[in-house]
Amino acid sequence: MRRPDRNGQCYLWVKGETGQGIQGFLRSIKLLRCGSRLTYNSDQRIWMPTTNTFDPPVRWDLRTGPANSATLIFEGDLDANSTPSAWAKLDVALAGTRFSSLEIDVSGLSFCDSAGLALLYHISSGGMTPNAAVRLNGLNAELQHLFQSYSAQDLRALQAHEPARTSLPEEVGSATWAWLVDLRQQIDFIGEVTVSLLAGLFQPRLMRWSEVMRVFEVAGVNALPIVSLLTFLVGMVIAFESAQPLAQLGAQVFVANLLGLVMSRELGPVMAAIMLAGRSGSAFAAELGTMKVNEEINALRTMGLSPVRFLVVPRIMAGVLLAPVLTIFAMYAGLLGGVPVLIGLGFPLRMVLRQVQLGLHFGDLAEGLSKSIVFGLIVASVSCLRGLQTGEGPRAVGESTTRSVVSSILLIILADAVFAVVIYTLRS
């Protein structure tokens, strides 16, 4: 093996006879360090590294003197690569020594970086020979300047520092307080939104319709493909899953009725609302959160403009308008997803459509659409509120986005449950 050339490559010639373990050597070559000399151990029948051909990057010599004194002489390069092993070896070499004085001579070092200086500082501050008086000689002026920036006092202060911990009662108290503050902000927000929304409806010129249309397009029209695809697949799965148990009752044809009812009453509005929360609600929260971090919200306030009227109301209006549209697409896509399954089960298309027509009533559609309006209102307002509640820094934007999605989905399911109870009561 020769020294690496200018490109950092070195060459290795392997010569041997059959049975000398060349294959095994080639497998173990990754264990060898550059510069290793190899010998063949005939007892173990393996090639093994023996001594280093090249000098290690840093060398030291520990010379003991009279009266428990010693001198540690460094040579070579003491850098971030060579320091870790030098540190470990010196730790072992100096452990248990009883020197009363130790002189470190670094005049032979050709290169030393911050890592090397950390080692020299550690030794000279008694980190390895606590009982010895240590003196460091031979540092050049540039390194001396850097060396002076090392401080055992700073290290002790850092090691003694413990992050502030709060007790359980403190945590419960602060969480309760945060919840109460959040509740108050929600009440304020609902009030402000209601006033601004009514003002916008009764005085349409106050509403920023161009912004409403922009949000409608971005959050609604652009979401149609993904909402349709998702509900199409859900419809397909429901048709497959319900076909088998209904077949046992001889009622497979009612898969179409079931699908129609489920998609129009429940899954259509809920799936569309969840997609709205995940795709557009999170975008609302992130957008308003970033605006808050960039002090754009403050800029609006100081211009005398209400952030709720200027930013929130157009988004809520767009959310309320686009949720039913998305829901209608979700309903149709879900039904379409079931059609190929039913055709595959042997039912003609006309029969499937007839069954859907028989099973569905205007009330089912009205139930789904009225739900979707409420869901749209929830998603848009909750997302905007979370966006406006964003704290300081980019991390806060991520947190408010997560909170917007979680809160929206939670409230959608809660509202859906309330709808189920109310509609059941009305029907019965």
Binding site: L119, H122, E142
Partner: protein
């Protein structure tokens, strides 16, 4: 601190821009080892864009940037890491990681690129913080630091792996004059004491006269370098009148 050629950075026939829009065309200059080199120009002249190309964040349209003879735009994998280890960058806002304390921010490159012990890494990180005068704020989060302190902590982080070059993007932006002067003194001290080469993008004239050995002035109309030399010399003797007016803070 390594043995390096006199010209540490060579920018050759560099044409840069965003998509179709060319910002600077056929730019040539060199940065010498150990000097504080300032890139100066009016807002929108392409200073920060040039810096982003010099540190390899953006690919040039034509030309090359050589750092210690290696072309950063072409380098990949281990070669690119080797070039990146030669320099540190201070971004305009400091770009400290908000969830880490000041000392953890400085320790991060040491954790990722060295096999040093925890004590060694703490010693180095604290020494860098002491170099920039922030040893007492080591355990504070960036949000608890002032703007000037954040920039100094970011410089300490950039120094963690002993780079030979520091790129500073608008180091004095948003700082009060006293903090800004303190930062200038720190840059001069690091350049003089540690031999670090600085490339500073700024339009803060007091800073340039305080720290820069040489400067280039970018001309947004010709999309090229209008003048190159020592700032004090250019203030009096730049061939273009607008450059002299610019450096003397006179309205055209």
């Amino acid at each position: 601190m390594n043995e390096l050629p006199a010209s540490l950075i060579k920018v050759r026939d560099l044409t840069i821009g965003y998509g179709e829009r060319v910002v600077l065309e056929n730019v040539n200059f060199e940065v010498r080892r150990g000097e504080v080199f300032a890139i100066l120009g009016a807002s929108g002249s392409g200073k920060s864009t040039l810096l982003k190309h010099m540190i390899g964040l953006l690919p040039p349209i034509r030309g090359e940037v050589l750092i210690s003879g290696a072309n950063i735009a072409d380098a990949e994998g281990a070669d690119k890491t080797r070039i990146l280890r030669k320099f540190g960058v201070l971004y305009q806002g400091g770009a400290l990681f908000g969830s880490l304390t000041a000392v953890e921010n400085v320790r991060l490159p040491l954790d990722e690129f060295t096999e040093l012990s925890d004590v060694a890494k703490d010693l180095i990180a604290l020494s860098k913080l002491r170099l920039v005068g922030l040893e007492s704020a080591a355990t504070r989060l960036p949000a608890d630091l002032s703007g000037g302190m954040q920039k100094r902590a970011a410089i300490a982080r950039a120094l963690a792996l002993d780079p030979c070059i520091l790129f500073l993007d608008e180091p004095s932006a948003g700082l009060d004059p006293i903090t800004s002067a303190g930062l200038d003194a720190l840059i001069r001290g690091l350049a003089g004491g540690l031999g670090i080469t600085f490339v500073v993008v700024t339009h803060e004239l007091p800073s340039i006269f305080a720290i820069a050995d040489r400067t280039i002035v970018l001309d947004p109309t010709t999309r090229s370098i209008a003048a190159e030399g020592a700032p004090a010399y250019l203030r009096e003797h730049a061939p273009q009148q607008w450059v002299r007016q610019f450096l003397n803070r006179e309205a055209a």
